[in-house]
């Protein structure tokens, strides 16, 4: 995959001698470097950065055969997309470096109160502790009625901050879960 060199046909030095006198009437061709995306699997996605929502094609190695873990080898604009028509900005063009990035967080971690370092934590343990935190905070500060005695059923001690790249479906899940908990502080990148 992805050889960086081209192989030139019949223009090596040996052959050069033969053609000194122009004997060879067959046109000389150079074989171009292998197209690195010739046999990759293409997945259509949307750039996660700005709101133009450029269509991108993520090229992964392998043909989706069962024994292959797809690896991203290239990201390019989707020429069919009516808005970006294959173009991408410098951020979109470098999306591969975002997908394959050695700075990615790879395991759950916790910073204990007063601690000066991260500790690894299992997912189940993390969920159990977070669930407990939420319930405790909610139960401690749940406001059933306000000072006028009107039912308000709200929680003012928990906040939700949603990100700019959360999908609609995820955001809906957040709205569902947070509103059902009674959370009032539901905010998002959309505000700032």
């Amino acid at each position: 995959m992805n050889p960086t060199r081209r192989s030139f046909l019949k223009i090596g030095t040996g052959a050069a001698m033969a053609s000194v006198l122009g004997f060879d009437l067959k046109a000389a061709y150079a074989e171009s470097k292998e197209l690195k995306i010739a046999r990759t699997t293409e997945t259509r996605s949307t750039c996660p950065y700005c709101s133009v929502s450029c269509g991108v094609i993520i090229h992964t190695i392998g043909d989706k055969a069962k024994n292959v873990t797809p690896q991203v080898v290239h990201v390019e604009g989707d020429p069919d997309h009516p808005i970006n028509r294959g173009t991408l900005c410098p951020k979109g063009s470098s999306l591969m470096q975002d997908i394959v990035n050695d700075r990615r967080l790879l395991k759950p971690q916790v910073r204990r109160p007063g601690s000066d370092h991260w500790e690894d934590i299992g997912w189940d343990q993390a969920y159990a502790e977070i669930g407990r935190h939420i319930k405790k905070t909610r139960d401690e500060s749940f406001i059933t009625t306000d000072s006028q005695g009107i039912t308000v059923n709200r929680v003012e001690s928990i906040a939700w901050n949603g990100g700019c790249t959360d999908t609609n479906e995820f955001n809906y899940l957040a709205v569902k879960t947070m509103r059902s908990l009674g959370v009032c502080f539901i905010e998002n990148q959309a505000r700032v």
Binding site: C50, T87, K91, L105, I134, A159, V175, T177, E187
Partner: protein, 849 residues
């Protein structure tokens, strides 16, 4: 955006202001360039800096940050003075002819009628139309415009707010001294070119040239040409941001540019899915589809509906669709989607399950409340709270007081590591009790689902690779957290567990809800058979609904977000469509993905036709009235009642109770006035030239903790600072991407050559920028792209800071950055309408570091 990205190619004239699309939306910017290339369209750029956008503009004006309303007011004045207006459009499609109540006062002294100095709010009862005959309380009350953000919530115990009159007095000759048009003229007659120059720093000749150029589309009453206004957070992020956008919308209404191909007021949103997040109510003050949240004055579901469902308010001879009159259908369907069988007519559709809010819970308030010890826990999913909000140090100090913080991220970020932010020693950490969970989520390429772009397109994307390492899908993480909480409430009981226990959770894998299941739920389905009366077609129970006209308020339908109803129908996911045909050539692409509402690509497109339903410009016809078929046809989906004949005079702005566009925003529409008025930024080096005694927005939101400091020129903060993004970087994300870091390796401060000379600063040297709140250190970029300005005879300097520095990133970790955040400088002051902080135009001082 009222229009769309591609639609910009149809324009003849562009005003790009409060935004830098070449920098921040390069791929969308191809369409403005296309308009220049293909139509010889003109581009006017107004910005505090000579930007990348300005580099390809026909005209560039350097404005003082925060003087936008003065500029736009001057434009409105110029259009009125020179009769560069769309008369027929103005009279029939806007409220120009509506007569305003007696007692309404324009802000010659900086205040509209009804100001309460103690509470710093307005009594808006005079901000209303004059009704004919006695006021009858209609079923609905005041509403907001489609574009404007939600109003502040009604104060508790206030008497029921005044409502719009159902029958409005109007004068189509526009001569009535209290009609909107005359008030508008009066208001903006003060915004003369001389005044514009004194406030904005734009020489009046340059201003006149630009105003002449922009309004030239209506030269001699011609209606064929179209102008567009393109903006972004350069407008929003002011303590009067919503009013700047209002001013632009008014200018466009005056020129008859809204609803038309190549026209509109186009907000370029800065992120991939904040439009979607707003649509689905990832913000405190609305429920999905811009339904207003219930407050404690709503004693039951019916009261809530009465309050938020507007009645039409119009001249009696006109018609108004008033689409929000369907609000109860949307609300019931939403509650059915939330609580399913647990939401019944008997229990008021589980109305009590919804938290009732009566105050502001916006972004800056989160941290203010947390700083005061009230907010104890935060869930931050894909959101770098410390870096993104204003006054970062306050956010950090607030987090120190929280009990717990859950961060779901893909990179180590400033928020999850607030407890070891610069300046905190290991000893200090011992006193930070916050328990922080950092959960590795999935990147965009690892997830499917939809984003909504600025043009309101919902586009599905497919997952290309599995998440690496132990990372989990974000939806799985949230589901597991929620199910754990639910399990605890099931086992142990607790405070009001009902909504938690009854929340619908119909997923094949409850621990990992598929996004397609959620997408279908958002679209909505029939719970029992539903029949559409006019067509006598029936959707069977369980079927996906084809559109929001099918929604019912009797519990027979469920729908997560009514404006997205129609996106995933029985025909499948329309958001996945990839049709590349554009038969009209206008860039509509009706079969590509799906646009809300109901696949309409240009909002209010009825306004693209004259009173008789004929397109203003036959070459760019979008919709038109077909007399033979007695209906509206078009290359786009008509954003209108399809069978409303032109003679009925139904207004094109169907989301407004008036049916027409609002030059004057009545009642609670805006917190700070029916017309925009120039106020100075909260921190400004000069006094307000119109009314020095009322310098800033009278209802501005500011904060009072010891972390909320504001600077004045007297304290040495004399330089105006504005913050922005670079095209090579994306917020605090790409500092983890070596490719982007290579393009712009270090953050900088853009400084005018003259200021640098004054201070002896050379390009590449480190400089320190300080505000009343903090300091920022980066290298100086000395440039001619920002010139010193003369504001009312006084020399004023502006500098600019790209925001991409943090304390975790490739360069930060390598010690090549000073690890200061631009938002250490920005003030906790917000717009009273949209609650957006004033990141643009605050005061700093500059020195060598």
């Amino acid at each position: 955006m009222t229009n769309g990205w591609i639609d910009i190619k149809n324009t003849d004239m562009m005003l790009i202001m409060g935004g830098n699309p070449a920098e921040n939306h390069p791929c969308g910017f191809k369409w403005p360039v296309e308009a220049k290339r293909e139509r010889n369209a003109k581009m006017i750029v107004v910005d505090p800096r000579f930007t990348r956008t300005a580099a390809v503009a026909d005209k560039f004006l350097q404005i003082r940050a925060g003087a936008d309303i003065a500029f736009l007011g001057g434009m409105i004045n110029y259009a009125l003075e020179n009769q560069r207006i769309a008369k027929e459009y103005l009279v029939n499609y806007t409220n120009a002819s509506f007569v305003i109540k007696e007692g309404f006062k324009l802000p010659d002294d900086g205040l509209y009628s009804g100001y309460d100095h103690d509470k710093q709010t307005y009594d808006k009862s005079t901000w209303n139309y004059e009704g004919a005959g006695a006021h009858q309380a209609p079923s609905g009350k005041a509403s907001q415009s489609g574009e404007a953000p939600a109003p502040p919530l009604a104060p508790r115990q206030a008497p029921p707010p005044p409502s719009l009159p159902p029958n409005v007095i109007y004068d189509t000759s526009l001569a009535h001294p209290r009609c909107v048009y005359q008030l508008l003229k009066q208001q903006y007659s003060r915004y003369t070119p001389e005044m514009v120059e004194r406030i904005t720093g734009i020489p009046k000749d340059q201003f006149r040239e630009a105003a002449d150029m922009f309004t030239s589309v209506r030269k001699d009453g011609d209606m064929k040409k179209v102008a567009t206004i393109i903006y972004a957070v350069g407008w929003t992020q002011h303590s009067f941001g919503a009013q700047i956008i209002r001013a632009a919308a008014m200018l466009q209404l005056l020129l008859g540019n809204i609803g038309r191909a190549g026209g509109g007021v186009n907000a370029l949103r800065g992120h991939s899915n904040i439009q979607g997040a707003t649509d689905v109510a990832g913000i405190f003050d609305s429920l999905p589809g811009y339904l207003k949240v219930p407050n404690p004055t709503d004693k039951d579901f019916a009261a809530w509906m009465t309050r938020i469902t507007p009645g039409s308010s119009k001249p009696k001879d006109w018609d108004s669709f008033n689409y929000y009159s369907n609000t109860p259908k949307f609300a019931v369907s939403f509650l059915k989607s939330m609580y399913g069988d647990a939401a019944t007519k008997q229990n008021d559709w589980a109305f009590d399950y919804l938290p009732k809010v009566d105050r502001e819970y916006s972004w800056v308030h989160i941290w203010d409340d947390m700083y005061q010890g009230k907010v104890k826990g935060v869930l931050s999913f894909g959101m770098n709270s410390v870096a993104i909000g204003p006054n970062s140090q306050k956010t950090i100090n607030a987090l120190k007081k929280a009990d717990w913080l859950v961060v779901c991220e893909i990179y180590p970020d400033e928020t999850s590591e607030f407890w070891k932010s610069p300046g905190i020693s290991t000893d200090d950490m011992k006193n930070i009790p916050t328990e922080v969970y950092r959960l590795p989520g999935a990147g965009f390429a690892e997830k499917d689902g939809t984003f909504v772009n600025s043009a309101r397109w919902l586009q599905w994307k497919w997952a290309a690779v599995p998440p690496p390492g132990d990372c989990q899908l974000d939806q799985a993480i949230l589901a597991r957290i929620f199910l754990k909480v639910r399990e605890l409430y099931q086992k142990e009981g607790g405070k009001f567990p009902d909504p938690i226990l009854n929340l619908t959770w119909n997923h094949l894998d409850p621990n990992n809800p598929s996004l397609s299941e959620l997408a279908k739920e958002l679209n909505g389905r029939a719970i029992s058979d539903v029949t559409d009366a006019p067509t006598q077609t029936t959707m069977k129970a369980g079927q996906q609904l084809p559109g929001f006209s099918w929604l019912r308020d009797d519990g027979s339908t469920s729908c997560g977000n009514w404006i997205w109803c129609g996106s995933w129908t029985e025909a499948g996911a329309l958001t996945q469509r990839r049709g590349t045909d554009d038969p009209s050539g206008l860039g509509i692409y009706p079969n590509w993905a799906w646009s809300w509402p109901m696949n309409r690509r240009v909002l209010y497109n009825r306004a693209s036709c004259d009173l008789n339903g004929k397109p203003w410009d036959p070459d760019r016809r979008q919709v038109w009235w077909n007399e033979a078929q007695k209906k509206w046809l078009g290359v786009d989906v008509p954003d209108f009642k399809p069978d409303s004949a032109p003679k009925d005079h139904m207004g094109p702005f169907i989301m407004n109770p008036e049916g027409v566009g609002r030059l004057f925003v009545p009642l609670a529409g805006m917190a700070d006035g029916p017309f925009p008025e120039h106020y100075e930024p909260f921190e400004s080096p000069v006094a307000n030239l119109f009314h020095p005694q009322q310098n800033t927005n009278p209802v501005v939101k500011k904060y009072t903790s010891d972390m909320d400091k504001y600077g004045t020129p007297d304290q040495g903060f004399t330089v105006i600072c504005t913050t922005y993004r670079l095209t090579e970087h994306y917020h605090y994300w790409t500092k983890n991407n070596p490719m982007n870091v290579q393009l712009v390796p270090q953050m900088f401060v853009e400084i005018p050559v003259e200021l640098a000379a004054d201070l002896g600063i050379k390009g590449g040297e480190k400089v320190k920028v300080s505000s009343a709140r903090g300091t920022y250190i980066a290298k100086a970029m000395v440039t001619r792209r920002i010139k010193p300005m003369t504001i009312d005879g006084k020399k004023v300097y502006q500098i600019g800071i790209p925001i991409h520095q943090g304390y975790r990133g490739i360069q930060e970790d390598a010690g090549r950055e000073s690890k200061t955040l631009a938002n250490l400088l920005s003030p906790t002051v917000t717009d009273p309408n949209a609650y957006t902080p004033e990141f643009k135009g605050f005061l700093v001082k500059l020195e060598k570091a």
